[in-house]
């Protein structure tokens, strides 16, 4: 496979916007990515759009606004990882010489409950039978199990939320842009014990895009040191009966494969964007990614290892719990942040000297993506 680089990225502010559609968000993100790359719409040879739960042909509806060039647009739905699916496919398209310039975009505009995703009464019955009305309960159950097994205190989750909110307050595109104290986080509205509102991702809208191409095209655009995609990996769920929490197991398998494939280990990473639907999920993933040994993630939090100035900053744009999580664009917002960090353009959130960044995203517990970016 040939080398693939990120020529441009674009992002809208995430949040709830009654006067904007996902099409508006998609157009804004793509236009920003084109401007960042210095490429015209007609130079996009194929496009992949990640979207979940907003109806069919989301990418085509964005494309209709930008012009009908004949370039094919493939629509992808992998829940939280839909944008990562688009990125992965765009990466493969360029790497395998199907095209020289590919667009990955993601758009989202969300309802509020799992029930909105249920397509029929038969499906709704299954959600109801399992008391599965609040998606956060799944993460809360895993958090409570961790508390039982490792003695993790709820304040550990709270500290991660404080860190997330701090980064979000520094990000002009973040859904939530205010700092919280630990006391505020712990005293906030409970969602599913031990998780309070600031520990859970908000529901919202937004758009994000990335343009992937070859080094030769990037150089033609005047980009002599573009961010390159060292590896992009997708892993499906593998059956295991030892744990009720399959997300973490899938991630651990994907991480091992990514490290073997790239020759980059966890100690080589400078900055990470990972799937934190809740602060408790982020804590678990520190261990699954190999940033520390099993049972030692609590100590990482207490040391401030994943916050500003720490040894491995995580979710420097605020993550899902602050920057927001509209599903479709979420993974491309992660890519956007890593590209800014590797370019040295992340402003007050900048990780000094960042050269290697990892994006990780989980989709409905059934799929895990890893994108390793370097400069």
């Amino acid at each position: 496979m040939r080398e693939v680089v990120v020529a441009g990225v674009g992002l809208t502010r995430f949040g709830q916007f009654a006067d904007r559609t996902y099409i508006d968000h998609g157009v804004e993100a793509v236009v920003k990515a084109q401007a960042d790359a210095g490429l015209g719409w007609s130079e996009i040879q194929r496009a992949y759009c990640g979207a979940s739960g907003i109806g069919p042909f989301a990418g085509n509806r964005v494309g209709h606004e930008l012009g009908l060039t004949g370039a094919p647009i493939v629509n992808l739905d992998n829940a939280s990882a839909s944008g990562n699916s688009a990125f992965h496919q765009a990466f493969l398209a360029v790497a395998t010489e199907q095209c020289d310039v590919a667009l990955a975009m993601g758009v989202g505009q969300l309802g509020r409950t799992m029930l909105n995703a249920a397509g029929s009464q038969a499906e709704t019955r299954k959600y109801l039978a399992q008391a599965y009305g609040n998606a956060m309960t799944i993460f809360a159950l895993a958090a409570r199990r961790r508390m039982h097994e490792y003695g993790t205190s709820p304040e550990i989750f709270g500290r991660i939320a404080v860190k997330s909110k701090l980064y979000g307050a520094l990000n002009p595109n973040s859904h939530i842009q205010r700092k919280y104290s630990l006391d505020e986080v712990m005293a906030a509205r409970p969602i599913a014990s031990p998780l309070t509102l600031p520990m859970c991702c908000p529901v919202g809208d937004g758009g994000a895009a990335a343009i992937l191409t070859t080094r030769r095209v990037a150089e033609r655009l005047g980009q002599l040191h573009p961010v390159r995609v060292t590896a992009s990996l997708m892993k499906g769920e593998v059956f295991q009966q030892a744990s009720a929490w399959s997300e973490g197991n899938t991630l651990a398998v994907a991480a091992r494969e990514m490290y073997e494939m790239s020759g980059v280990g966890p100690s080589d990473l400078d900055v990470i964007q990972l799937h934190d639907a809740t602060s408790s999920e982020e804590l678990d993933y520190y261990e699954r990614l190999g940033l520390c040994r099993e049972g030692e993630a609590d100590a990482m939090v207490l040391e401030g290892a994943t916050g500003p100035g720490g040894r491995i900053p995580v979710n420097t744009d605020g993550g899902l719990t602050s920057r927001g999580h509209p599903l479709g664009p979420t993974g491309l917002a992660q890519v956007h942040e890593i590209v800014l960090q590797l370019r040295g353009d992340a402003g007050d959130r900048q990780v000094a000297g960042a050269k290697t960044g990892l994006v990780q995203q989980t989709g409905a517990g059934a799929v895990c993506f890893m994108h390793l970016l370097q400069r």
Partner: protein, 138 residues
């Protein structure tokens, strides 16, 4: 829920549960793979572990071990905060559902629970529906 009410109320997902022999508790209906021996709930078209089609129906319960528990403060289905639990069924599979106890009477993780019938709100075009729930053993 009285016995008469229980028997007049349809199971919300009939293929997932049936009455236990004591007619007070429930068993969950899943499968066991003849090829690899793995048990799972609910049923799937093939064995989740080895993909064999040689799967046979298996009952789990009417007791289980509580693996985790949380209070769903949003009360999406019941309109009030309620407990949600995850149990490990005795032959291995996990199941999630309501916990039949008040939010101030949360059972301990690792404790034994009974699988009992639990009324949930009617859906459009249905009467009262019954699902399974996890009740702390007395």
């Amino acid at each position: 829920m009285s016995q008469a009410e229980q028997e007049g109320s349809a199971f919300i997902v009939p293929e997932w549960m049936r009455w236990a022999s004591d007619r007070k508790r429930l068993v969950l209906v899943g499968q066991r793979c003849r090829a690899c021996g793995i048990a799972f709930f609910p049923k799937t078209a093939r064995c989740k572990a080895c993909y064999s089609a040689e799967v046979v129906e298996a009952e789990f319960g009417p007791e289980a071990e509580l693996h985790s528990v949380t209070i769903d403060h949003t009360g999406t289905f019941l309109g009030r905060p309620h407990l949600v639990g995850q149990v490990r069924l005795d032959d291995g599979p996990f199941a999630q559902g309501f916990v039949d106890a008040g939010v101030d009477a949360e059972p301990a993780i690792g404790s034994r629970v009974d699988l009992v019938p639990f009324s949930v709100p009617a859906l459009q075009g249905t009467g009262t529906l019954t699902t399974y729930a996890f009740r702390p053993k007395e």
